[in-house]
């Protein structure tokens, strides 16, 4: 099942004159950060890792067969182990299990291929029962009675899909080479990495026309493609945006970016409550979370954070949901608190976009993040946000109509 493309230890088929880190990123000259945590592994550490992998294999079972059973029996063990980091060699499979994407894939055989090739899936009626709110599927039901045969209706919709996605397509193409440009898999122009990225994003934009393609989604897809096949990555995107296990993420990308706005509101309030001195300093310096945190939410830390940290955050994000993004954000601010409160606007903005290396060590940052409890406040703040903005949103919608 594992289709990991970049092998850590073997010289891959694509020879590169430049040195790569263990994740396949071209090493920066003065920045060996991501290796610093992994390079000098002692024999005991190596053995410990081996033991961990064995435990994980047992927990998952062959191809994930024991996973659900184990999760039901020992949810706390699973949670604890995920928080310690999923072994890299099992990451792709475990991500699919915890995100619910594996179930979607199994329930919709062959569907990705259809979207990928722009053919209308013959499985659309099946999917209708699985995922709600997709306009394409609703359309198929509306259109069917008007055509003499199902084939005719499908042909019509096929044309519609091709026509309507052309706008997204140009946006996708423009961003392909601007997504993880320093990763060996995505570097080659029209190479397998860029092609996969294009296919997944295009398929998603056809599948969900309300979202289409939005900048930032490429980083999600790119990260996933380093650990799984196109089809698996597509279904994981679907699971995330449509909310197979946790709250749907699609609001991060819909017109008006409503969920980004909500998350930024919640984050700003949490900063004020958890770090009042810093919150006050932000207010005085007129720092707004949209100036530094929108990409944290839109790309779940995959845009500009060290890759080994992003992966650890994704492990927890897929199993526990978006609250880890808030927790990590708060932990970062807390860790750098004493420096940040002294900085004037410009230096502050720079600091919030370039955290020091020691702050981004997962083994320091993540335990700190886990210790911050936000669930209850997040829920309350969400209600508060909806109360404040409900009217606004509704009147804006009416205005548009």
């Amino acid at each position: 099942m594992e289709k990991k493309r970049i092998d850590d230890y073997e010289p891959g088929p694509v020879p590169s004159p430049r040195a790569l880190d263990r994740f396949g990123f071209v090493k920066q000259e003065h920045n060996n950060s991501s290796d610093a945590f992994t390079k000098s592994r002692s024999a005991s550490e190596y053995e410990r890792d081996e033991r961990r992998v064995r435990k994980w294999r047992k927990m998952i079972g062959v191809g994930g067969s024991d996973w659900k059973h184990y999760v039901r029996r020992k949810p706390h063990v699973v949670k604890r182990r995920i928080r310690k980091g999923i072994p890299d060699c099992l990451r792709g499979l475990v991500w699919q299990l915890i995100s619910g994407s594996r179930d979607l894939l199994l329930m919709n055989p062959g569907v990705y291929e259809c979207f990928d090739r722009w053919l209308l899936p013959k499985y659309v009626p099946i999917m209708l029962f699985l995922i709600h709110g997709d306009s394409l599927q609703i359309l198929s039901v509306l259109l069917l009675p008007r055509y003499s045969s199902a084939q005719e209706a499908l042909f019509f919709m096929q044309q519609l899909v091709i026509y309507e996605t052309s706008a997204s397509e140009l946006d996708i193409i423009r961003d392909i080479s601007r997504t993880f440009p320093s990763h060996v898999f995505f570097q080659q122009r029209h190479g397998p990495g860029q092609r996969s990225l294009y296919n997944v994003l295009k398929a998603y934009s056809v599948y969900d026309r309300d979202v289409g393609y939005v900048q930032g989604m490429g980083f999600l897809a790119g990260l996933l493609l380093l650990y799984m096949s196109e089809e698996d990555a597509f279904w994981l995107l679907v699971a995330l945006l449509k909310g197979a296990v946790h709250a749907p993420m699609e609001g991060l990308y819909l017109v008006g970016l409503p969920l980004v706005q909500q998350y930024l509101f919640q984050f700003e309030q949490l900063v004020r409550e958890f770090l009042p001195k810093l919150g006050e300093h932000f207010t005085q310096e007129m720092i707004n979370p949209s100036m530094y945190a929108s990409q944290w939410f839109i790309t779940v830390f995959s845009y500009s954070f060290p890759f080994h940290l992003a992966l650890r955050i994704w492990d927890v994000f897929l199993s526990e949901g978006v609250k880890i993004v808030f927790k990590v954000g708060l932990a970062l601010l807390k860790y750098c608190h004493d420096d940040l409160v002294k900085l004037p606007f410009e230096k502050l903005i720079q600091a919030l976009r370039n955290f020091p290396e020691d702050a981004m060590d997962p083994d320091t940052l993540l335990p700190m993040a886990y210790s911050i409890k936000v669930s209850k406040r997040l829920e309350e703040l969400k209600l508060e946000y909806e109360k404040n903005n409900g009217k606004l949103v509704r009147s804006a919608e009416l205005g548009r109509k």
């Binding site: 946006d171 961003d175 601007r178 900048q215 970016l257 100036m291 929108s294 500009s304 410009e346």
Partner: protein, 207 residues
């Protein structure tokens, strides 16, 4: 005696995705060009110290995401801008046609006190591409549009080769400076920053 306090000038760069906003900013501030910029998500930010006639200013440059959907995040960046830079790609007609939308969107969101005279600067970027053979927007056409919008200064640039980037940003800084309300300028009255009348702002530095 005028205070030596440095003045802050806020500049915002707008334009379609992929026209070179990030590249222009980095070329100007860091004198670097890279083929490996990531697509900007949300917004990016750089500052540069600039000197005009004996006085120091901090130019605060906001680089924004070009995709239309990100405009809803723009408010925080648009407010308080002293100059708005509109960028298009001379090889992409659509990016030129969209300049009007970007201008209007900015005026709505930033709601400057005097929208008629708010300083914009237009940059036609990527003039280096294919030796100019793939160009679809002529200089004449671009200048005509700029003239119709109240003589917006216009520059043709190549962020890749660094062509005209300094000249463009010098003009941007000067225009931003002229937009600052009088009372906030710690200006010794012997220095004429604009090097000319204030009324001439839109033609003052057009090359």
């Amino acid at each position: 005696m005028a205070t030596r306090r440095r003045m802050l000038l806020k500049v915002i760069i707008l334009g379609d995705s992929g026209v070179g906003k990030t590249s222009l900013m980095n070329q100007y501030v860091n004198r670097k060009f890279s083929n490996q910029y990531k697509a900007t998500i949300g917004a990016d930010f750089l500052t540069k110290e600039v000197q005009f006639e004996d006085r120091l200013f901090t130019l605060q440059i906001w680089d924004t995401a070009g995709q239309e959907r990100f405009q809803s995040l723009g408010v925080a960046f648009y407010r308080g801008a002293d100059c708005c830079v509109l960028v298009y790609d001379v090889n992409v007609m659509k990016s030129f046609e969209n300049l009007n939308n970007w201008r209007e969107e900015f005026l709505i969101q930033a709601s400057p006190s005097d929208p008629e005279n708010f300083p914009f600067v237009v940059l036609g970027n990527k003039v280096d591409v294919d030796g100019g053979n793939s160009r679809v927007v002529s200089e004449k056409k671009a200048k005509a549009w700029c003239a119709s919008k109240g003589n917006i200064p216009y520059f043709e640039t190549s962020a890749k080769e660094g062509f005209n980037v300094d000249a463009a940003f010098e003009c941007i800084a000067k225009n931003a400076l002229k937009n600052e309300p009088e009372e906030e300028i710690y200006l010794p009255d012997t220095i004429d920053v604009a090097g000319g009348g204030r009324q001439q702002r839109s033609t003052g530095c057009e090359c």
